[in-house]
């Protein structure tokens, strides 16, 4: 099932992270299933449980199905000082989910993450590959509504 991805990378252990990224990106629900781990384990000859350890260490990977758009809100101190708690409250309310939950329509998953490296624009979040900074309630409404409209 993942032959196309494996073709891109030689079976070297160093390629684990890249392969996992590709598998996750390819999946409509942005996650890595047990079957996928099993195939990667065979391909790279890395024990299954090691890959599980890597998957759960990095917040960017998920072992459970997620929404079409994964929101990752920074919870590091700079964003916290600039009001990330308010952003979180607003997101929870707008989307009607708790942390690590997916909206009923399957459109959004709300997650927290460590520093995204753009502290100058704190508070910051990422939706899939796009970064959104200087967040406030109004901005959040605009972003969420825009994505909902694209559906």
């Amino acid at each position: 099932m993942y032959e196309k991805i494996f073709e891109k990378y030689s079976p070297k252990k160093d390629n684990l992270i890249y392969i996992l990224h590709d598998i996750q990106d390819q999946h409509p629900q942005h996650y890595i299933s047990e079957d996928a781990v099993s195939e990667v384990s065979e391909y790279l000859r890395i024990p299954f449980s090691h890959i599980y350890g890597v998957l759960t260490f990095y917040t960017m990977y998920s072992t459970k199905p997620r929404g079409k758009n994964v929101i990752r809100l920074c919870e590091s101190p700079p964003c916290f000082l600039k009001g990330s708690e308010n952003v979180l409250r607003k997101l929870k309310k707008t989307l009607d989910v708790k942390i690590n939950q997916t909206t009923k329509d399957g459109l959004f998953t709300l997650e927290l993450c460590a520093c995204l490296g753009v502290c100058g624009n704190a508070p910051v979040m990422m939706i899939n590959d796009d970064v959104y900074g200087n967040l406030n309630d109004e901005k959040i409404d605009k972003i969420i509504n825009k994505i909902r409209g694209e559906k």
Binding site: E34, V37, S38, S41, P47, F48, S49, H50, Y52, G53, T56, F57, T63
Partner: protein, 592 residues
């Protein structure tokens, strides 16, 4: 030669080889540095931080367990700053630990408890941040209590590097970090082979065996049940150390006495079926050599190894001896041979075995282990559980008068007793195979090349057989599953050509089993092995084919070794298992 360096530990100069850790240098200077995650048998994980030290000539603290010493370093092992640091670390660990000492299996043997006590730690200083997780109870052998886990990482090193099983792994990070199995599914749904080495090395009781003790008590106190017990060779080499006796003493007579006192109706000995195993497995080896059967032959006494083979090297099933383990042979015979002889309804027999092993708990539950028409073995007690039972019954073990095992399945030879140490099965098999092939006993029964704690022991034996001239037998003994893996890789690549292979899953063999006392180190294992070899030396009969009870069992019941009846009752078959969760994929070998 390694360069020697001079270091000062609390002002005391010592010379150590370059590369020595600060902790080892301090040991040489006879200076104590407290440790928790560190274990001398294992690579340091440097997780707990308790071994921090300071320096006279440098403003830093470093972890002694994992920092190599350097020329001219001046270590301070204790100071007010270090005491405060260590105390805070212990307080932090306790804030995330289920402090349930009175009910904990490892109470009084817990390394965290000892340290907390020594440092006068107050566990209420930090608020509890422990997020309770359910116990992992599904495995046949091992119970995992994540609430007690302090993430020291010892079990990971054992499971991944020493055993190369990879059942346990780290999941999550930061406060959410846990030692777990893949996808958090529990030990039952992992490739765990039930060796139980994780339980031996866990410092805090987060990993322990599945308890059978209460079931055994229930059977003992039930007048309608006839309770029969067998004890593995390793048990007698271990009990002494736990009851304040000379740890080198083999306490076989006292062990029988304790079992009679506990109320077992018949006290037999697994050493009997160890001798029986040699008769069956030795015959199998000779037949395979004589008829050009599949070689190398690999021993099958160790259920940890059998699961490992089924999971990682299923192609080697055809090489693995079809013999059941001594425990299972014994169990089958108790409910057939013994029941028949004594005219007892096997349905009323409860067959208990006392093993240094957690994998035996899995083995007894294998669905194919029912050749007697009943579950062949009902309960397995680990050494730890047995010790608890003796204490619970208030038996003063050290002062017991020595007794003998009961007749019929109690006699054993030196060959049976050395089964408990790595290389023992090999040595016992060679003694009997030599006798059968040559027609006389070996001049020197001690086969030193296969003894000792070296991970992989190879030897070539020249046997002047009476039927096919002089043959050379290449044998190898491996203990610890990483060594087993290495030997299997050699076999599969054709790099080495062996005829006979002994494998034990646990380092040191059964004396180092997963059911042995908590904290059993490599040194403890080596000592117990030596005790068994000493017992062997002192026994009048040292070869399995001389065992009177075994010979009688063949005469009266089984016929001859590898007879049809023996095959039906004493042999088994193997399965291929999934590397992901240990589930049976298919049957590979079939029972004939």
């Amino acid at each position: 030669m390694t360069k020697l360096i001079k270091v000062s530990i609390d002002g005391l100069e010592v010379e150590v080889p370059d590369g020595t850790t600060i902790l080892d240098a301090a040991k040489k200077a006879k200076k104590y540095i407290p440790t928790l995650c560190y274990h001398p048998d294992l690579k340091p994980t440097a997780n707990c931080g308790l071994c921090v030290v300071e320096f006279e000539n440098m403003d830093a603290t470093k972890r002694a367990c994992s920092t190599p010493a350097w020329e001219g370093m001046k270590v301070i092992t204790n100071s007010n700053k270090l005491r405060k640091l260590r105390k805070s670390l212990l307080e932090l660990i306790l804030s995330n630990h289920d402090v349930a000492c009175p009910t904990c299996d490892q109470n009084n043997k817990c390394e965290l408890q000892d340290l907390a006590n020594l440092f006068n730690v107050d566990d209420s200083i930090f608020p509890k941040i422990l997020k309770k997780r359910p116990l992992d109870l599904d495995s046949f052998s091992i119970v995992r209590d994540s609430n007690k886990c302090i993430s020291c990482g010892r079990c990971l090193i054992v499971c991944q590097e020493i055993q190369t099983v990879y059942a346990l792994t780290e999941g999550g990070r930061g406060f959410d970090k846990v030692i777990t199995t893949s996808f958090d599914k529990g030990m039952y749904d992992s490739p765990c082979v039930n060796c139980g080495q994780c339980t031996v090395y866990c410092p805090v009781g987060a990993l322990r065996e599945k308890n059978h003790k209460d079931f055994v008590w229930e059977a003992l106190l039930d007048k309608s049940k006839y309770v029969v017990v067998q004890e593995a060779p390793a048990i007698r080499a271990t009990l002494g150390e736990e009851f304040g006796m000379n740890p080198e003493e083999v306490t076989v007579g006292k062990m029988y006495a304790a079992l009679h006192k506990l109320g077992f109706d018949r006290v037999f000995d697994t050493n009997f079926s160890a001798d029986l195993t040699i008769m069956e497995e030795g015959t199998e080896l000779i037949t395979r050599i004589a008829t050009g059967g599949t070689l190398p032959l690999i021993t099958s006494c160790c259920p940890g190894w059998v699961s490992f083979m089924e999971t990682y090297f299923p192609k080697r099933a055809e090489n693995t001896s079809t013999c059941k383990s001594p425990q299972q042979m014994f169990g089958t015979l108790v409910k057939t041979y013994f029941a028949e002889k004594e005219k007892i309804d096997p349905a009323n027999i409860v067959s208990v075995s006392i093993m240094p092993c957690t994998a035996k708990k899995f083995e007894l539950a294998r669905p194919e282990m029912k050749d007697s028409g009943y579950q062949d073995v009902d309960y397995v007690l680990t050494t730890r559980e047995f010790i608890k039972m003796i204490k619970e019954a208030g038996i003063d073990f050290a002062t017991l008068d020595e007794q003998k095992a009961d007749n019929l399945m109690g006699a054993y030879t030196g060959a049976g007793t050395i089964f408990g140490a790595t290389g023992g099965v090999m040595e016992a098999a060679i003694r009997t195979a030599y006798f059968v092939l040559v027609g006389k006993e070996l001049d020197d029964l001690d086969i030193k090349a296969v003894r000792g704690m070296t991970g992989i022991k190879e030897a070539t034996l020249t046997i002047p057989t009476k039927d096919f001239g002089e043959i050379k037998l290449n044998v190898v003994v491996a203990h610890g599953l990483s060594n087993a893996r290495q030997v299997m890789e050699w076999v599969e690549s054709g790099e080495k050509d062996y005829h006979f292979i002994e494998i034990m899953a646990c380092p040191g063999g059964c004396v180092g089993g997963g059911g042995q006392p908590y904290g059993s180190s490599i040194a403890d294992r080596a000592r117990r092995g030596i005790s068994l070899y000493k017992e062997d030396k002192d026994l009048p009969k040292r070869c399995s084919h001389q065992n009177p009870d075994v010979n009688k069992c063949y005469e009266d019941f089984l016929g001859k070794p590898n007879s049809e009846k023996a095959h039906k009752l004493l042999h088994t078959n193997y399965f291929e298992r999934s590397k992901l969760n240990g589930e049976i994929i298919r049957e590979i070998t079939h029972k004939h």
